[in-house]
Amino acid sequence: MFDGLIAFGHSIGSFLTPQSLFYVFASSLVGLIIGALPGLTATMGLALMTTLTLKMPSSQALLVLVCTYVGAIYGGSRSAILLNIPGTPASAASCLDGYALARQGHAGRAMGIATSGSVLGTLIGMFFLALFTPLLGDLALKFGAYEFFWLTVFGVVISGTLTGDDPMKGWMAGFLGLFVATIGQEAIYAYERFNFGNRDLAGGIALVPALVGAFGFAELLVVMKERQVPVKINPFDSVIPRVRDVLRYWKTILRSGCIGTFIGIVPGVGEDVAAWTSYAAAKRASKEPETFGKGSIDGLMAAETGDNACVPGAVIPVLTLAVPGSAPAAVLMAAMLIHGVQPGPMIMIQSPQFVYDVVAMMLFATLGILFYGLTLTKLMIRVLQVPQTVIVPVILVLCTIGAFAIAGRLFDVWVMLAFGIIGFILRQLNYPMAPLVLGIVLGDLMEKNLRRGLVLSDGDLGPFLTRPISLVLWLAIVLIIALKFDAVRNLFSRARAAVLGR
């Protein structure tokens, strides 16, 4: 307990330098702007910022990325409240009550609620990050090849199930991502797969160019497809958060913080599901559910607390299992690997201080969004008024550099373009992107552990099915898939009715 606090104190001290504080405020601002601009997501922002931070020391680079991540998730609330357009998918739930409040002349109060919810949500998530990471790290040490195989499959399946409105398409996107990860030389015999004689492709598809394409270039095409509505800002009151709102809705804040963190821990699900789940839970618990969607402070507080609590939550499985809890966390994990940090079960043994460094980064990111939440209203309104036609070419330039700079290969620019086009087509056909990303990230882990497990058991599937953690995981996978089929659901309903005698 005290060791953890001392380590946390050391981490805070290490970031209390003018340079680090400059990075905190600069990257929180960048994140906020990216999050506020409709069409630009936290995942894209992180992918682009990974390039900018390539030459920085790892702790500074990751500080920048964490602040960008937290800032972007918070920033989405600005356009949700002011324009009724979610800046990021995570802020979609905030549109319902945030914009309704803005139309009633309370946009400032709504932004204050978003600020207090986001700050407290991040702090709750941060508390659980510090608490759960060592505990989950101990559990992760019990994971062998069999468990890791099922965990990766579980991540892709649950992400496919929860992140879109069509689970089958989510699973297909996830399996496509897993397949993409198999392109290039495999790990045991260095056999080149699906490279068609191309030497660059033999090295595999690099994660960051693929993400920049799927989340950057594809998003720009989606933005250009939509007709831009003229920006009309409602008049607003003070943006200073009210203590009364926080005290009155403390139960909502605590509940949404816990829900957001838990959803963050579930692999590949992410902030948008956290926001909607927190919103639904708040509506169920409310004495005035009829006010939800009509300017409910309770609803806005729940959505904003839930999505920001998800950010530290999504980092917990990154650190302990090397399995990202959301799409932006997948980029953060890739950045950790680029900077020589090896997340996974051994992290609490090999570099426990790093875990507390990440907790401290979350704290500084929280300070960043609090600062801008109180001060930056007018600038944000100006940013929201910049025409898309000006933003899009600049972002496309950044996407090109972002793809190239990781390895200095023009091939990666082609990868970015290809994934941009594929991502755009998949989006138009209603395939979610999060499972695709998770698949690309987890593909290598899945394959290595499946083949390792099969070699260890000499082809016996028994350990895959009977070891306790494996058993829980594969049963959960089967249940999640089965419950998405009407026939199975009807069977369950009939069985329940028979048991209950109805």
Partner: protein
């Protein structure tokens, strides 16, 4: 399988056919891979095992999607009108132009080399703004201002991005 798809059954049916073709190609590609038996590989360590399984899953799910789309009548809608909706008529040329300009910049000017990065960036941003922003400005009688702004944005982006990446972030540019 329950689903609240925003996509037409015809589009789902076509995409299902694409998934089936893709899944089949992956399975075939995996099957034809060297099993590395000369190096002592077993079935479990063969390079094609995992891609083959994934290809089979995509094939299976593609077939399920095809069945679902057929139940919704997707395969019978080929005779229906292929005319674009007003929104699609607005969106299609914009997406095509953005894609074209993006490819010309990233794959052509930058990817093919030969042009300095700053010049490629300036040209791209300038042309992009002239294509998408200038017509509206001209309609408002601000054509000259539109050209000037496109020049300023193009030059500014080229300078700021090149300088920041090369000298501040120490990132090598294409």
């Amino acid at each position: 399988m329950s689903a609240a798809s925003k996509v037409s059954p015809r589009a789902d049916f076509l995409s299902a056919l694409a998934w089936i073709a893709f899944g089949l190609s992956v399975v075939a590609g995996a099957w034809r891979m060297d099993r590395m038996e000369s190096q002592g590989a077993t079935l479990y360590t063969a390079p094609g095992l995992v891609p083959g399984m994934l290809g089979a899953m995509m094939l299976f799910l593609g077939m399920l999607l095809a069945v679902r789309a057929m139940r919704a009548g997707g395969h019978r809608q080929f005779g229906a009108s292929w005319a674009l909706s007003p929104q699609a008529r607005f969106a299609a040329p914009r997406v095509a132009l953005t894609l074209g300009l993006g490819l010309a910049y990233a794959a052509g000017m930058v990817g093919h080399g030969g042009i300095p990065f700053w010049l490629a960036t300036f040209t791209f941003v300038f042309v992009f703004l002239m294509v998408f922003d200038w017509p509206q400005r001209r309609a408002k009688g601000e054509g000259g201002k539109g050209i000037l702004l496109a020049l300023i944005y193009g030059g500014g982006t080229a300078f700021v991005v090149s300088y920041l990446f090369e000298y501040v972030f120490l990132v090598r540019l294409p």
